[in-house]
Amino acid sequence: MNITHPESLIFWTVLVFVILLVLLRKYAWKPILGAVKSRETSINDALAAAEEARKEMQNLKADNERILKEARAERDSLLKEAREMKEKIIADAKEEAQEQGSKIIAQAKAAIEGEKRAALAELKNQVASLSVEIAEKVVKQEFSDKDKQLELVGNMLGEVDTTLN
């Protein structure tokens, strides 16, 4: 095998290859690789965005759950408070009623006591005056000795007092 006129193929290969490289680089490889690359980045971006959205969704869901939980807790606490308040009100009312009742009862007792005392005093007075009248009449008619009569009356009144007490 012998190599003939290598200069022709060397010359044309270098020329054609350089032209081909320049043309293809400008009009083929750069646009193709650029398009492929931008597509890859857009796919990657889309995937990243989807992941982001998924995460956000999860966050949102967690948030919702948290808010719901809080609301539920608040409601529970409100209910509890209300119940407590009700019980307290009822208890207060009961206490007050009892107090009032006992007060009224005490007043009534005091009033009754007063009335009784007044009635007794009245009675004593009336008994005394009655006795005096009786005694005057008895004395006027029967007794000459006034000291004897008075002693007798005093004894009799003492008897009345003990029976009344």
Binding site: M1, N2, I3, T4, H5, P6, E7, S8, L9, I10, F11, W12, T13, V14, V16, F17, I19, L20, L21, L23, L24, R25, Y27, A28, W29, K30, P31, I32, L33, A35, V36, R39
Partner: protein, 358 residues
Amino acid sequence: MSIARESVKFIAFLTLLFSISVFSQEHHNNHSEDGSEEAFDPTEVIMHHISDSHDFHIAGNLSLPLPVILWTDNGLVTFMSSEFHHDEAGEVVVDKKGMKFVRYHDEIYYAGANGALDFDAEHHPANDRPLNFSITKNVFTLFLAAALMLLIFIPVARSYKKHQGAPRGLAGFMEPLILFVRNEIAIPNIGKKKYERYMPYLLTVFFLIWLGNLFGLIPFFPFSGTLTNDIVFTGVLAVITFLITTFSGNKQYWGHIFATPGVPKPLLLIMIPVEVLGMFTKPFALMVRLFANITAGHIVILSLFSLIFIFKTAAVAPVSIAFALFMFVLELLVAALQAYVFTLLSALFIGQAVEDHH
């Protein structure tokens, strides 16, 4: 079923192609043998087939004349190769601008005053020859491959501009190949940061070599010329790889060659020449590998066909064709594989040159 039918059709088609190429070769032999009753010389036929030529032989006596462009002592001289009338023995003299040219075994010489060649003791022509920039068969094939690449890839690039999204049609076929070069060859060997600068070179080389290999496997005009079985072509590509490697070599790369880290000073006396030699043997191996792989495949296929003429019987034809078909399919694989290997090793060498740290 339909796949089976398709493959039967495909094999029948390939067989047809082969018979065409066998017939054309037969005619060619008759043609070259007319005049004398020489015995069939397979070496000469095969060597003729795999060599460059000023005519593009199509079939039978039909040839496409190609322009001959000579840079002579008196300036540029151009004429069509048909003016030599298929003469390769230095007998037909072409007279241009007062100069006489003869062609002897594909080389064009200045003819002597008597219009003939002088031969030296070893039977080589002793005449001077002009610089020859002819559009030979291989140059023609190179133009064809380059034109085809422009025709394929520029519309593909346009189709990306027209519609975004998934590639369609031809772009859908070409994109995996381009991505293969990027993802399997460039990125692993050069690295993610620096590969982009070298992508245009790697892609151009990959597809040019592949097309050049495939053209040689298509047995009819305007293909049949093989770019890559010319050592000059593969040599130019290897030199370009060498230049890119050398000029993109960083401190690390040159440091590795002239002061290999971890090597004692006296040993550097041996290491430096070895490393410098390595710089040149790598592209040399690149050149020879591609050339020899493709040439060897062609020689085997042509040798198998030559058996028919050596035994002078058509009975050998089925065996020849069966084996040649097997070789042909293997060559289809080799065509892609060698393009891959050349690009891969180019990327590897470039990667070594631009590597940051070990």
